[in-house]
């Protein structure tokens, strides 16, 4: 994918070798894959509805997919994981709120939400990049806390926003946006229901999956373009990029803006699938599961590809969907799946942090 990989491909390729195949897939991924399979086996043995679990998993993958994809441009351009994802999410939420305030429904609503939030996200992304550019080496930490601050700043905004639409504000008091805003009568499930079909009792939310894969394809094609290749070079070897005449700062700007925009699009996709828009402190920790997912897909802090996004989204989200009902069936009232989620996602991030080599 990147320059180093094409370099490896030039070496004489050995025939199929189990060890290298496993290495390519990654031990962490294999373990989690095995775990997911095990969960499905247990679910089958316990008589849980496998088909229901599968359709839930598909929905969860599609719903979180764009948020996970948003990590890719940031990693590729060399900024590292975008811990400032909530900034993009807040832009998306703002677009969504304004759309619902205009009483737009269905596809019009969904597209308007995108149309409003993308320019906001571009501006936010540009500002965010200006900060990140100054704090090279501390991007992750500064991003995290900047995003936290923004979440609380926006919390104050949600409470004081001059919006009077009864769909959005608290039933009593006459001001302040609600904590969760139902989207069932606006543009909830627009993507999910688009061309949806059923196989047996598995429902496939075609629109949702297609939209995610379409965005993945667009990012993939972008990374193949001239700008995209320049961005890859910036991320993998800044000195080389500079010497070959690439405007490194510009590439990073594009990466950060893309990541923020995808975050905004991602939360709109998420919200329409979930059926609710969650405001206030809900976006605060949104970056961590997305980061964990792309890492589980095989990315590192300095290197990631579309396949990492897709594999990570499928593995991690399936795991998160299947684990709670299965463990619940095994151990009554146990919280093991929640604990496992915390440990797996943070363990993955921790592992990546201790392994990322290379200078800063």
């Amino acid at each position: 994918m990147s320059k180093t990989e094409t370099g490896e491909a030039c070496a004489p390729k050995p025939r199929f070798n189990l060890i290298t195949a496993i290495k390519d897939l990654g031990v962490a991924r294999l373990i989690i894959l095995a775990f997911v399979v095990l969960l499905f086996v247990v679910a089958y043995a316990k008589g849980l509805g496998i088909q229901g679990l599968i359709s839930d998993s598909i929905v969860r993958v599609g719903m979180n997919g764009v948020l996970i994809l948003s990590m890719l441009p940031a990693v590729v351009c060399g900024v590292g994981m975008n811990f400032g994802l909530p900034l993009g999410i807040l832009s998306g939420l703002l677009g969504g709120i304004l759309t619902i305030n205009m009483n737009l429904t269905g596809w019009t609503g969904f597209l308007t939400a995108l149309l409003i939030s993308v320019p906001i996200a571009v501006i936010v992304g540009l500002l965010y990049h200006m900060v990140l550019d100054k704090v090279r080496g501390e991007e992750m930490m500064v991003g995290t806390y900047l995003a936290y601050a923004a979440v609380f700043g926006m919390s104050i905004f949600w409470m004081l926003a001059p919006i009077k639409n009864p769909k959005l504000i608290f039933a009593v008091g006459g001001k302040g946006l609600r904590y969760t805003i139902s989207m069932t009568d606006t543009f909830g499930k627009v993507l999910n229901n688009f061309l949806a079909f059923r196989i047996g009792s598995i429902t496939v939310p075609t629109g949702l999956i297609l939209f995610w894969l379409l965005l993945c394809l667009l990012v993939y094609l972008f990374l193949r373009s001239k700008t995209g290749l320049a961005m890859l070079a910036t991320g993998s070897n800044p000195a080389y990029a500079v010497s070959s005449g690439i405007n490194v700062g510009n590439m990073k700007r594009i990466g950060v803006v893309m990541s923020t925009v995808l975050g905004a699009v991602g939360i709109i996709v998420f919200a329409q699938s979930y059926g609710f828009m969650q405001l206030y402190t809900a976006p605060q920790t949104a970056a961590f599961p997305a980061i964990a997912a792309i890492l589980i897909g095989g990315a590192s802090l300095r290197k990631a590809s579309i396949s990492n996004v897709i594999i990570g989204a499928i593995l991690f989200q399936t795991l998160l969907t299947v684990a709670p009902p299965v463990t619940q069936a095994l151990m009554e009232g146990s919280e093991i799946s929640e604990i496992a989620r915390v440990m797996i996602s943070n363990g993955m991030i921790l592992y990546a942090l201790t392994r990322a080599t290379g200078g800063r």
Binding site: F83, V131, K134, V135, R136, G137, E138, M140, M141, V142, T144, Y145, L146, Y148, A149, F152, G153, S155, I156, M159, L160, G176, F288, G333, S334, E335, I336, E338, I339, A340, V342, M343, N346, G347, I349, L350, L353, T354, R355, A356, R360
Partner: protein, 379 residues
């Protein structure tokens, strides 16, 4: 040896430092203004505020001080103190099971927490060594991860892998009724105020009563005394060989390595100190509260302590005892006052609360950004 090295610091860098210290005063001044404004707006009874501040100082100063050594050693703000706080809580749960009470129980908890926090501190330090330059984010994620392990221990393993006699009255009180996992709150009345009013209890003889109530305020003298001892300890250790090592690697890891300091080992030592002290700090905090919020008490410790230290004018590279003291006063004044100010200004206490969070997160972000900008200028 260290002095030689100091004199070789280029003047450029020194100038940068001076500029840094100028901007360091900006943050405390800004917060003082903010606090005074909030106090005026909220129309608060000043006696209540001072009383509240005194107890919060006693409660929090120790754990904020525990951040100082890693800063000196160049590790930055040790978000891994969450792990230390957890070991303190583990010790508290152990003494609750052992039914130890009063000051004896508190001291036992301190003793029990030492091996636990030393071991965990060693692990945290080793992980930090593998993530040099990214210690802070690693520490933060480490806290989240450790939280998972902690929950695993006290929700799943206790009562299953760790046998508990459910017939004993203690177990009935703190375990969930099905015999697996702890309750959400553990009552700590047995050690409530055991340290805070230790002087009032120990020196209560022959009619001369040492009181810890001064005018309208109740002062947790014991906790203050502990924090004072810790200050002395920090001043002392900085004068020893160990302290020199901390400072040397804080200044430049490569030079320290060349001059024969085992950098990785010293860094681990610094983290262990910090973790053990954080465990004790959490014990002091909880004996003042009198109840343990089993699964949440430690979560915010890292963020609050770091924010307090930074509000006091510290930076990622430089933090003093005074930064900690000033920071705790300012941060906690804002803590007490901001919901009231929010209520008065917007008729909504939540807004004050969010505003406080907005400010404290911004301060952390700004401090980290300033640090990054300065260290970039140097290179």
């Amino acid at each position: 040896m260290a002095d030689d090295r100091l004199s070789t610091v280029p003047t450029e860098a020194r100038k940068g430092h001076r500029r840094g210290s100028l901007s360091q005063y900006a943050v405390p001044i800004f917060f003082t203004v903010l606090c005074v404004a909030s106090i005026i707006v909220s129309d608060l009874d000043i006696n209540y505020l001072i009383g509240e501040l005194l107890s919060r100082m006693g409660r929090n100063l120790f754990i904020v001080l525990s951040l100082l050594i890693p800063v000196t050693a160049g590790i930055g703000l040790n978000f891994g103190i969450v792990v230390g706080a957890m070991s303190g809580q583990i010790a508290l749960i152990i003494i609750t099971f052992m039914q130890l009470k009063g000051l004896g129980g508190f001291l036992a908890a301190m003793a029990i927490s030492v091996p636990i926090s030393t071991l965990l501190g060693y692990i945290v330090g080793s992980v930090f060594n593998r993530a040099k330059g990214r210690e802070m984010i690693t520490g933060m994620i480490m806290g989240f991860f450790a939280n998972g392990v902690y929950q695993l221990l006290f929700l799943m393993l206790i009562g299953t892998l760790i046998p508990v006699n459910m017939n004993s009255p203690v177990a009935k009180q703190i375990m969930l009724s099905n015999g697996v996992g702890l309750r959400n709150t553990v009552d700590l009345t047995s050690i409530y105020y055991s340290l805070d009013n230790v002087f009032a209890r120990l020196f209560n003889w022959n009619g001369i009563i040492w009181t810890d109530t001064f005018g309208p305020w109740r002062v947790p003298l014991g906790a203050f005394f502990m924090s004072f001892l810790l200050c002395l300890f920090i001043v002392f250790i900085m004068k020893t060989k160990k302290g020199q090592d901390f400072r040397a690697i804080g200044q430049d890891m490569a030079i320290a390595e060349v001059s024969g300091i085992k950098v990785d080992k010293v860094r681990i030592t610094a983290v262990i100190y910090s973790t053990v002290l954080a465990a004790w700090g959490q014990l002091i905090f909880l004996q003042n509260l009198g109840s343990l919020n089993t699964f949440n008490a430690h979560e915010q410790v890292g963020m609050f302590s770091v924010a307090a230290l930074l509000v006091g004018g510290a930076s990622v590279k430089k933090a003093s005892i005074w930064n900690a003291i000033v920071g705790v006063i300012l941060f906690h004044t804002l803590f007490v006052v901001s919901p009231l100010a929010g209520q008065k200004l917007f008729g909504e206490p939540q807004i004050g609360e969010w505003f406080r969070q907005l400010i404290s997160y911004s301060v952390i972000a700004a401090a980290l950004a300033m640090h990054a900008i300065q260290s970039r200028k140097k290179h």
